[in-house]
Structure formats: C-alpha cells, structure tokens
C-alpha cells in the first residue's frame, strides 16, 4: 500500500471499457472508498473511457494511487490520439454531444470527481485527468 502504484490499460474496444471500469472498482475497493464514492468514480471512468473510444478512436487509461498527507486518492488519466476538442468549454456543457450519447459525458463526469482537467487541441488528441479523494 505504501509504494506508488500505477497501471495502464488499453481502451480499444467496448470490452476494454468494461474492463477499465472493473479495474477502477477493484482499486477503489482496495482503498476502502465508500460505496457512493466508488460508484461515482467508476461511473466517471466509464464516461471518460467511452469518450476516448468513441471520440478519440481509442486510447488508454492510466490508474494511479496517490496520497496527499494522510489522504489517499485515485487518479485516472484518459489519453487518446483522436481529433481533439476544439472548444473545451462548450464540450463541458450538459447536453453537448457530437456522438451518440446524451451529452452528459464530460460535464457529468466532472461533477462526479474532486479534480478534473482537460488537455486537448485540434489534431493533438485529448488527455483528461481526474482525481477522487477518499
């Protein structure tokens, strides 16, 4: 538990999204996250993994255990080499969608975590980093 842990998973198929979700759940349980916190983080992971797959044409998820003093948390980084997001502010709005979803993916997952950042530019892919503290 004391040494830093991180693991990277591919997001190439719909099954990878399921697997990424299970992995996040497993780590959250190991860190003794409460059930609601687990559910929020896993749901956010599911949205972001699906984004990377649907909009970014696949990518990867990196999961990392982090600590801030006595606090522990999980950091998830979703990276893709897709077309990127031209207008991040717009993409974060509820109801905004370019794909087949309901448009709650980005803005919604932001509400489910404690820290959220997006790094993206047209043609350069997208990296979304989220943290949920226990």
């Amino acid at each position: 538990m004391t040494e830093p842990r991180r693991e990277t998973l591919p997001l190439k198929t719909s099954n990878d999204v399921v697997f990424a979700r299970q992995k996040v759940r497993q780590w959250a349980i190991e860190l003794h996250f409460g059930l609601v916190d687990q559910t929020k983080l896993v749901t956010a992971a599911s949205e972001l993994a699906r984004n990377a797959l649907d909009h970014g044409k696949g990518g990867q998820m990196c999961i990392e255990q982090i600590a801030n003093g006595a606090r522990v948390g999980l950091k998830l980084i979703f990276e893709d080499q897709g077309p990127g997001i031209p207008d991040i502010e717009l993409a974060l709005k509820d109801g905004f969608t370019t794909g087949s979803g309901m448009g709650f993916g980005l803005g919604g997952s932001k509400r489910l975590v404690n820290e959220f950042s997006i790094d993206s530019a047209p043609g350069k892919g997208t990296r979304v980093t989220v943290v949920r503290w226990k």
Partner: protein, 131 residues
C-alpha cells in the same frame, strides 16, 4: 452469442440485467425487446437493474431508448430495483431518466403497470391471473 434473456409472463416482458453492459449487448437487447413486443403483443416491459453497480449515460440512454421504442409499440416500460448509490450518481451525472418510469421493486413495478394487486405476494386473488 452473449445475450440478455427476455422472459415472457403473460402480457409482460421481464428483463433482468445482470451483466456489465457493452454496446453490442445493449443493441441486441433493444432488438430483442422490440421484436418480442411485436411477436407477443406485450403491453408491459419490466427491466430489473438491481444487479447493476453503475448506470452511466450509455446505459441510461439504452433504458430511455427501450422505454421510447416500447411506448411506440404500445407497451409501457418500468425500470425497477436501482441501487441507492446508482441513483445518487446518476442524478449528479445529470440524468434523471426523464420519460422512464421507475419503481423500487419488481412487485411495485408490476403494480405500476397493471394496477394494485398485480404484484406478487399481494394476497389478492382477483381476475388478473388471466393476464
């Protein structure tokens, strides 16, 4: 091929989602439910999601789609058994499943569809057994 079973109980279709949903499974389920309604003239669709540990916008959309498609075909859909943590997360995510009727249990869902006494264990022996 992996598939979610669609059970027939009189005029009701009963679906229990117990596996982690992915795209193909969700699409297959939409196809199956609409086909069964059409084949059997079902008037109610009950979807039990008590085993689902998360409902993300993808699954939420699938539930809304099934409810919408079923309604167009003349069947009402009720989603039952959502876990409290899932409900909290879903609303925070921004989805409150508009257009999808929900109930706490299968029993409550049956009553919503077919009126009081339709649920199991209600003790009433009215004429609904013919349904």
């Amino acid at each position: 091929m992996e598939r979610i079973p669609v059970l027939r109980m009189g005029s009701l279709l009963l679906i229990t989602i117990q596996v982690d949903m992915h795209d193909k499974l969700a699409m297959q389920l939409q196809d199956d439910v609409t086909q069964r309604i059409s084949d059997w003239g079902s008037t109610g669709v009950l979807i039990d999601i008590s085993s689902l540990e998360i409902v993300d916008s993808f699954i939420g959309r699938m539930l809304a789609n099934i409810a919408g498609m079923s309604r167009v075909l003349g069947a009402e859909t009720v989603v039952v058994g959502m876990q409290p943590a899932v409900a909290i997360t879903l609303v925070e995510l921004g989805m409150s499943l508009p257009g999808v009727r929900t109930a706490l249990s299968v029993e409550a869902g049956m009553e919503l569809l077919f009126g009081p006494g339709a649920g199991f264990g209600s003790g009433s022996d009215d004429d609904r057994a013919q349904a």
